[in-house]
């Protein structure tokens, strides 16, 4: 979708739409464009509201699709989404990876948490590859994933890290569940939940117990220039402030950055999850992951604080594992370790 039409202020469009000296068809066009300004302004909240409204009818529709379809589209270096459908016969390695890993993430959510796609109703998981020119990013746009190829210097193909694909899809899950905003602690929690489930997916796919995992985010997308300077990841959930992280983060609440980007302060709950998983042991998705999934799906709370989420995880630990006190103890140790009491 190209959006240059929205750059002209609505007041100007309204004035042209009412200008009797202009031809009728031009005035209609200006009026139509003006109406889109409002649509775009509300699109972000509408995405969340629409997603949240699905919660009430989710039990009815979960049987509609047993597993989500995972089509892939090729942007061919443009920024128009979704792009051109990639045929099933395509040999594009990025396309195969994007579709295959999206299906694997869906399987991860189904096997580990009994969830059917991001909306728990079998929503089709659309991936667009080769987005933009040398685009150093991947994102969830409220409806689908998009992956850049990287500049080949600092970053390479963003589909090369399976935790990145798990991260982006999890933004969809969060949108349909907790409905977190994107500022302050809620925004940081939003990003942390994507890193947590992204790395958990990576561990699940690799059959790694918590002690065998590296807890790195984005290790597969680091380009030669980044590696040459000693950066082996974007973020390290075990050591968010370490020098080998290209985007180092605060490791505890004492270093929380007021007004900081969600990707900065997410280091705090990221490390809380790591500390919990290490204290509880085993496979992250079996106990620690189930506690976080229960907290994530316990109802919408767009402005949730770290403390409120921590409270949810404690309640989930008690409810899910009443006979295993090590789980609640691990959850408590994790939050205490990052200064969120």
């Amino acid at each position: 979708m190209t959006c240059s039409c929205f750059i002209v202020p609505k007041s100007v469009l309204d004035r042209f739409a009412a200008d009797a000296s202009l031809p009728a068809d031009s005035r209609e066009a200006f009026a139509a464009t003006a109406s889109l300004e409002t649509v775009w302004r509300t699109l972000r909240s509408a995405h969340t509201e629409a997603s949240q409204s699905r919660l009430a009818i989710a039990p009815i529709v979960t049987t509609l699709a047993a597993a989500p379809a995972t089509p892939v589209f090729d942007c061919n270096s443009s920024t128009s989404l979704p792009g051109t459908a990639l045929p099933s016969t395509s040999t594009d390695a990025t396309g195969k990876r994007a579709g295959g890993e999206a299906a694997a993430v869906a399987q991860f959510y189904k096997d580990c948490f009994g969830r059917n796609s991001v909306d728990n109703a079998g929503k089709t998981l659309v991936s667009s590859i080769h987005y933009g020119a040398k685009y150093n990013n991947a994102f969830w746009n409220g409806s689908q994933m998009a992956y850049g190829d990287g500049d080949g210097n600092i970053f390479i193909d963003f589909t090369l890290s399976n935790d990145v694909i798990g991260h982006e899809l999890t933004h969809g899950v969060t949108q349909y569940t907790l409905g977190l905003g994107y500022t302050n602690q809620a925004g940081a929690l939003n990003e942390a939940i994507s890193d947590v489930f992204g790395t958990m997916f990576r561990q699940w796919q690799g059959g790694q117990a918590v002690t065998a995992a590296d807890w790195l985010i984005g290790s597969g997308i680091m380009g030669p220039a980044a590696k040459a300077k000693g950066y082996n990841c974007l973020r390290d959930m075990a050591h968010p402030d370490a020098g080998h992280c290209l985007s180092a983060q605060p490791a505890d609440f004492a270093h929380y950055v007021p007004g900081g980007d969600p990707h900065v302060n997410s280091g705090i709950p990221n490390r809380a999850f790591y500390l919990m998983a290490m204290a509880i042991g085993g496979n992250s998705w079996e106990k620690t992951g189930k506690v976080w999934y229960a907290a994530l799906t316990a109802g919408s709370s767009p402005k949730m604080s770290f403390k409120a989420f921590a409270k949810r995880t404690r309640a989930a630990a008690k409810q899910l594992f009443p006979a295993d006190p090590t789980v609640l103890a691990g959850v408590n140790a994790g939050w205490k370790g990052v200064g969120v009491a």
Binding site: C3, P9, F139, H263
Partner: protein, 88 residues
């Protein structure tokens, strides 16, 4: 001659990027887009979803400096492509 300073934040990587563009180098369409952005009375809303870029766009003129946040879907490609990441 006006100068545009562009600072990018956000995105999955969280790695900031910066760049500068002389307005004289912009196409007429891109220049019109920039002027329309600075005529806005309220800042545009962020792009929907998560891990999207946000650009801080500063226009340096003899009369002073104007700055506003612009979501990536509203920034002309010539400006978005003018920023470069700097490794810390």
């Amino acid at each position: 001659m006006d100068r545009l300073k562009i600072e990018r934040r956000g995105g999955f990587t969280g790695l900031p990027a910066r760049g500068e563009v002389e307005t004289a180098s912009l196409s007429a369409a891109d220049l019109a887009s920039v002027e329309a952005l600075f005529r806005r009375k309220t800042p545009p809303p962020p792009s929907p979803g998560a891990d999207r870029f946000i650009f801080s766009l500063s226009r340096h003129r003899e009369s002073g400096v104007q700055t506003m946040d612009v979501p990536e879907h509203l920034l002309p490609a010539a400006l978005a492509g003018a920023v470069k990441e700097e490794l810390p």
